[in-house]
């Protein structure tokens, strides 16, 4: 036995020592561009004066111009001037270094990003060395800090005129003049009414929870499950799109295709779909905004015309990040994302899946539907709902998640069993129909494995999370299945 371990140990060590740099690493040939800044960027394509521009040069101007903005944001955030020299000419960078010096001495930092650019190329010189842009309606989001306390966060929309020179292969800013600015007024949009009653369920396939659109994706399995859901009297499923697994800023189009196929399956089963975006996302920093906006843009534009789509849930339980990331960071991210998705899709309602009723009023003005999750005592559900209704007024209320685990094994001997679970759902359905509430339960299946990212690695939590299903791991109905719907 011991010898086996020793041999194993030696072999692992030997294998490690044998693994060296492969040739591609050795030569540093695989340097890939990392996307760090992706604001909406739309060229006004009316012809420019001077030489006719080609797409090659136009893209280079775009890349360097955006990089100039990016290094400026970083410079003002950190009060350092690294990178400035690459994107501003010698005379222009003086303006930045002076302000940075002033801010350093006063301990002022500015966190900023731009969300939108609408540039027009005004002029491109005959020798291709000079370009003039007018960048209209540059939407900038800024947070001004003095001595590390936030003074003010605001959004502004400005128009800039820029002269760029091609120096050493970089398009560098020579002049930058703000020609117009208005403080962004709050974008008030009419809420999108949604009046159909939602009777739904949070759905993951039994074999691939939290990784529904990975390699195990099978449209047939999902179609079968959707038929089970449909036949049980439900009309809606809530699905999740994981931010990083979907490629962050550059969305994995294969996975997006699988989401589309899933929506097709839902349409065939006559189910509506709530899509929850940004699952497992947790950065929220201003410097990350443009990346998340590009992510949302790709997904929303791809899916917004699908007939099965019911609405967008921007993020699942973001209030749980308040403590680690700061409530202000999280809510300001959510707010701009809500506004962004509204401009991308003016048809489908948006909501946020708050983890409890007391969080549910946050950002209520920005949302079309108010969603909260409820895993507490059912006896207090009605009073919670009534309180909420009085606070949110007309907007429809959704109970986005509720359920009970039927796990009563070793780690939780006092827990509820399958009969308790059935009783819970019976009671829940009763309350839901009495309150005439939109509701989506958690979840269709018991799962065999739970990824660590969901509830951590502690076995009592893992085990508990596995048994929320109406169907067991073999797919047989548990007693609660009778009460999956109020009908």
């Amino acid at each position: 036995m011991i010898i086996t371990f020793i041999i194993y140990g030696i072999s692992v060590l030997f294998a490690y020592l044998n693994s060296g740099a492969d040739r591609s690493n050795m030569l540093n040939t695989e340097i890939q561009k990392i996307e760090h800044y992706t604001p909406t960027f739309i060229w006004d394509d009316t012809p420019n004066e001077g030489r006719i521009i080609d797409s090659e040069n136009l893209n280079q101007i775009k890349d360097d111009y955006l990089d100039a903005w990016y290094v400026k944001h970083v410079a003002f955030k950190t009060n350092s001037t690294s990178g400035i020299a690459d994107y501003y000419t010698e005379s222009a960078r003086e303006n930045l270094t002076k302000i940075i010096a002033q801010n350093t001495s006063e301990n002022i930092t500015i966190e900023a990003t731009t969300l939108e650019h609408h540039p027009k190329l005004e002029f491109f010189s005959e020798d291709g060395q000079l370009a003039v842009l007018t960048d209209h309606n540059v939407v900038e989001y800024k947070r001004v800090f003095a001595n590390n306390t936030l003074l003010k966060a605001y959004e502004e929309a400005s128009t800039y005129q820029i002269i760029l020179l091609l120096e050493d292969g970089f398009w560098r800013i020579r002049h930058l003049v703000k020609t117009a600015q208005k403080l962004q007024s709050e974008k008030q949009k009419d809420p999108i009414a949604y009046r159909d009653k939602i009777k739904g369920i949070n759905y993951y396939p039994k074999a691939s929870p939290w990784n529904m659109f990975g390699d195990q994706f099978s449209k047939d399995t999902i179609a079968q499950d959707f038929n089970i859901i449909k036949d049980s009297g439900l009309n809606t499923v809530r699905l999740f799109i994981q931010y990083e697994a979907f490629g962050s800023a550059n969305v994995d189009l294969n996975k997006l295709q699988r989401v589309q196929e899933t929506l097709d399956a839902a349409y065939e089963a006559n189910l509506k779909v709530f899509i929850t975006l940004f699952d497992f996302y947790g950065n929220y920093e201003v410097s990350d905004w443009t990346l998340t906006r590009q992510h949302a843009e790709t997904i929303v534009n791809a899916l917004k015309s699908h007939k099965a789509l019911l609405g967008w849930d921007i993020k699942n339980e973001p209030d749980l990040d308040f403590e680690s990331r700061g409530e202000f960071n999280v809510t300001s991210w959510l707010k701009q994302m809500a506004q962004h998705i509204k401009t991308l899709d003016s048809v489908h309602p948006i909501t946020i899946g708050w983890s409890n009723p007391s969080s549910a009023t946050i950002l209520k003005e920005e949302l079309d539907l108010i969603t909260f999750h409820y895993y507490n005592d059912l006896n207090e559900l009605a009073s919670n709902v009534n309180n909420l209704k009085s606070e949110i007024g007309e907007k429809p209320l959704i109970l986005g998640e509720f359920g009970l685990s039927s796990f009563d094994g070793f780690w939780n001997p006092m827990g509820s069993d399958e009969d308790d679970q059935a009783e819970y759902h019976k009671k829940a359905q009763n309350i839901i129909s009495n309150l005439d509430l939109n509701a989506m339960s958690w979840t269709l299946y018991d799962f065999e494995t739970i990824p660590e990212a969901v509830v951590g690695s502690l076995p009592w939590r893992q085990q508990n999370q596995k048994y929320f299903g109406f169907l067991d791991q073999e797919g047989n109905p548990k007693p609660s299945f009778e009460y999956i719907s109020s009908e």
Partner: protein
């Protein structure tokens, strides 16, 4: 009905036309902006003054084209005073300010215009070399700036002067989108075009655009040779006419001209030359036997010349050779030229030795003092009876069954 429309129009005007200065009066707070001026010239100091009912401390966020900073107030009893930092006063464009107090925020905009003094003109000219003929052009882009490095306002006029040969012209252009640009077309002639600009009394330095001749047009060639004999010694020179572009400008020095010579037996010879003052010269040694050439010159892919034909007369009609020293020495000559003079050294003579139609030896030698002598070494040519062939100036002579001992 019309009255109603006008009423609605004015009502909407009032609702939507909400300039930033008005924001101040709408605040419930007792802080009121005293400074009414909103337009400044770059470089002037700017103070923002607010009247307050009781002394408070406040911050002013200040944003211009390049960045944002926060200014602390200089508080007096009933006045809140902010001095906008110099670097914000000196950059043109919109300056946005926002007053932060514990209870409320006020905001507004100032417009800083560039001063109407030009202190530098940056000129960008390109491409630096253009083609004569009036179709090609270069571009002058002028960026006049004020003492604070702000581009001047749109509409400022810039004089763009150009000098070419004996003409000097001046054109007035206007700054638009921070730059003024002018397209400078080439003329029919080639030469140096000098460009300069002037703005508000400030002059730029001189810039040069080279106007180079356009592509060459067709040309002619001629040949020059000391005599027309194929002596393999003298040199035939070729020369082009003065090569010009379509506008009669002599092409740039160094234009590469290639001469192709086709001989009567369809062999190609090549020589080349570069132009100097439009003329390219090239040379070719005379053939060593009777021949006739067709010569044509090309500037590859652009222009070509006429064809000229040259004939070369034979200089040698016959020659003698003798075998001596037991057949081991073959002496060829004397070779006599067109005046019976001994031919200049260097005529090529070939000896071919064969045994029963199998080639044993081939040797090439150049003539010296009118003769060529071949020595057959014993280790290469064993004792036997050989056939010998001699070739010179295109004439072949044979002798069979020579005893080599």
């Amino acid at each position: 009905m019309t009255f109603k429309h006008i009423y609605i129009f004015f009502f909407l005007m009032v609702v939507f036309n909400n300039p930033s200065e008005n924001n101040n009066s709408t605040t419930q707070n007792s802080i009121v902006l005293k400074t009414s001026k909103t337009a400044f010239v770059a470089g002037a100091s700017i103070f923002l003054e607010f009247s307050v009912s009781k002394p408070i401390e406040a911050n002013l966020i200040c944003t211009n084209s390049y960045g944002t900073t926060v200014i602390k107030s200089q508080t007096e009893t009933s006045i809140l005073l902010f001095k906008i930092p110099e670097l914000f006063c000196s950059k043109s464009g919109i300056l946005n300010w926002e007053l932060l107090t514990d209870t409320s925020t006020l905001n507004g905009q100032l417009y800083i215009s560039p001063s109407d003094l030009a202190s530098s003109i940056e000129n960008y000219i390109g491409p630096p070399s253009i083609e004569a003929g009036g179709a090609d052009f270069a571009m002058l882009v002028s960026i006049p700036t004020d003492p604070f490095d702000n581009p001047l306002t749109d509409g400022t006029s810039v004089q763009c002067s150009e000098q070419f040969l004996s003409t000097i012209t001046t054109e007035s252009i206007e700054v638009r989108n921070m730059i003024a640009y002018n397209t400078i077309y080439s003329k029919q002639e080639s030469g140096r075009l000098l460009v300069a600009s002037e703005c508000l009394g400030l002059n730029s330095k001189e810039h040069t655009i080279m106007v180079s001749p356009a592509i060459p047009s067709q040309f002619t060639i001629q040949a020059d040779r000391p005599h027309d004999f194929a002596d393999g010694n003298q040199i035939t020179s070729f020369e082009t006419s003065v090569i010009k572009d379509k506008n009669n400008n002599v092409v740039s020095d160094g234009t590469y001209v290639q001469f192709y010579i086709e001989t009567h037996d369809h062999r190609m010879l090549q020589t080349s030359g570069l132009t100097v003052n439009g003329i390219a010269k090239a040379q070719m040694i005379h053939p060593d036997r009777q021949s006739s050439w067709i010569v044509k010159a090309f500037i590859e892919g652009i222009a070509d010349s006429n064809e000229i034909r040259l004939k070369y007369q034979p200089v040698i009609s016959d020659f003698q050779f003798s075998v001596s020293n037991n057949g081991r020495t073959v002496t060829v000559g004397p070779f006599k030229s067109f005046m019976n003079q001994l031919i200049p050294d260097g005529l090529e003579v070939t000896l071919r030795l064969s045994l029963n139609n199998t080639s044993i030896l081939q040797e090439l030698k150049a003539s010296k003092d009118g003769y060529v002598s071949f020595t057959l070494q014993e280790d290469i040519v064993p004792k036997d009876y050989y056939d010998i062939e001699i070739e010179a100036a295109g004439i072949k002579k044979q002798v069979t069954h020579v005893s080599v001992w």
